[in-house]
């Protein structure tokens, strides 16, 4: 067996890992390029921390979007869900004087509710996910704009600012830790839970998932609602984190641009890892 492996050309031995290696090489290439162009500034701790901080906001969204995409779906409204729940959180705190401990969970729950609505629209009314979530993207964004009246809300209580700007143990930003925790949680969910297993199965072969005796339509509805529910949770949270990070909340931030990109990265690697 070992002798056999040695005879294989390198390219063949690397083949199963290509989906992981590819994106890694791209990131390394960018690092090297930036290092050559801006050697003095790029590798400073503050700069690298900023990059991590920016990435951290997309980690939860990308992770959950991974589930949606893995089961052959897409959610285009994820950015607006994040924006709207962020705005709601900001309003609860600034306008109505709610404590952060109340406002943040409410924002997360509302984000989950928006995801659930998406799931129901797609499964109950048989609306293609691309169209359904694109429409809901406009709905959620519209709500956010109307609520905020174009204002940018700023100056939140210390607790929120601390989460957004704090560092543990002195140099790793807290949002990065939250982001990494979400990634680990998502990986475990994908590989160790019924939910993750069925997500991959439905994505891999929907007919097979059906024929295996999984109660067909009911499970699909359940899976969709659940997936989007989970999506909504961190995307709502990302809205919260975004609000906390620059200590402002505004409705126009477009998360959507980035999250599918990050997903291509994570989903491919995760799907490969999950075997």
């Amino acid at each position: 067996m070992t002798a056999e492996t040695h005879k294989q050309p390198l390219s063949e031995r690397l083949e199963p890992y290509i989906a992981i290696i590819g994106p890694m090489v791209m990131i390394l290439a960018i690092l090297v390029f930036m290092g050559i162009v801006e050697p003095a500034r790029y590798f400073r701790t503050t700069n690298l921390n900023l990059i991590l901080l920016d990435a951290a906001l997309y980690m939860p969204m990308a992770m959950t979007m991974t589930f949606v995409i893995t089961q052959r779906g897409i959610d285009l409204s994820i950015g607006s869900i994040a924006a709207l729940s962020g705005i709601i959180m900001a309003f609860l705190i600034k306008q109505y004087g709610y404590s952060v401990y109340v406002a943040v969970p409410i924002a997360i729950m509302l984000g989950a509710l928006m995801g659930l609505i998406n799931g129901l629209i797609i499964t109950r009314f048989n609306v293609p996910d691309l169209i359904g979530t694109l429409a809901m993207d406009l709905v959620y964004r519209g709500f956010a704009l109307v609520l905020a009246k174009g204002l940018v809300l700023a100056r939140f209580p210390d607790f929120l600012t601390d989460i957004g700007r704090g560092q543990i143990p002195g140099f790793v930003p807290i949002p990065v830790l939250i982001g990494i925790a979400t990634m680990i949680g998502g990986y475990l969910l994908l590989t160790r839970s019924y939910f993750g297993r069925y997500t991959i199965a439905i994505g891999s072969n929907p007919e097979a998932a059906e024929l295996t005796g999984i109660s067909v339509n009911r499970h699909k509805v359940f899976a969709y609602a659940c997936i989007l529910r989970v999506v909504a949770w961190p995307s709502a949270r990302a809205g919260v984190a975004r609000a906390a990070a620059p200590t402002t909340a505004e409705p126009r931030r477009n998360f959507l641009r980035f999250s599918p990109l990050s997903v291509v990265h994570t989903s491919v690697s995760c799907a490969r890892d999950s075997r």
């Binding site: 891999s204 072969n205 097979a208």
Partner: protein
């Protein structure tokens, strides 16, 4: 199955079809395209509900509203497409919809290790098949091995009585076909009622005990394989026996 009729709108796919399968026996169903073979087994496995007719299992009248219900009563099928989720490993496929779990702080967690061990055991003990790697996604296996995984999934259920195999050898090379036929004989020896759907009369005559011939939605006859010939069955399939008679 007695007097099964299945209509799709104005089209009668099956008309008064009887079918008997016995434990420890291989029944082959043959017939031209459109003869109603697939519809017949879909009725038997609960995918379709018959318009008319009854299904008996050990003398008890049964009816299934879904394929899942047929599985719980001991009737399962291995489809031509195998119905495997190719991105998952063989063990995940074998336990799909029926996963083994362990408890981690009160939370059910998939027990991938145990599922892999069980898959290896079932493949070895029931089918005599050993896979090179149990970690690789199912798509990396050969046609015969993928089929073994699909069959293992069906036979893993203790209550399995009737196994329907739809065109199991259609996509296989000669060597793998021989292996699959051997496997069918092994399943028969384990006391299962095997129903084999095939276009290959060579395969049918090698493994089956009886041959059920379908033509245009009706059963034209059942013959004992030992008392029949390829010629006779072929004649029944195309309807030539009326000419010779």
């Amino acid at each position: 199955m007695r007097a099964i009729t299945k209509r799709f709108g104005g089209v009668t796919a099956l008309l008064n079809v009887d079918l008997e399968a016995y434990a420890g026996e291989v029944l082959a169903i043959v017939g031209d395209n459109g003869a109603g073979k697939s519809t017949l087994i879909k009725v038997l496995t609960g995918v379709y509900q018959p318009t008319k007719g009854e299904i008996f299992l050990d003398g008890d009248k049964v009816a299934f509203s879904s394929h899942a219900e047929a599985i719980t009563l001991g009737i399962d099928a291995v489809y031509q497409t195998l119905a495997l989720a190719d991105h998952l490993d063989p063990a995940a496929n074998m336990f799909l919809g029926n996963e083994l779990t362990k408890s981690f702080m009160g939370i059910p967690v998939l027990d991938n290790k145990k599922m892999r061990a069980e898959t290896e055991r079932v493949l070895m003990e029931r089918l005599g098949v050993q896979l090179k790697s149990l970690d690789a996604p199912t798509e990396s296996l050969s046609g015969g091995q993928r089929q073994a995984v699909a069959i293992a999934r069906a036979v893993y259920s203790e209550g399995l009585r009737v196994l329907v195999m739809d065109e199991p050898t259609a996509a296989l090379g000669p060597q793998e076909t021989a292996r699959t036929l051997k496997l069918i004989k092994a399943l028969k020896a384990q006391g299962l009622a095997v129903i084999l759907i095939s276009h290959s009369l060579d395969d049918v005559f090698e493994v089956s005990d009886r041959v059920h011939v379908q033509r245009r939605g009706q059963r034209v006859g059942v013959v004992r394989t030992a008392d029949s010939s390829t010629q006779e069955v072929l004649g029944m399939i195309v309807g030539a026996e009326e000419v010779t008679a």
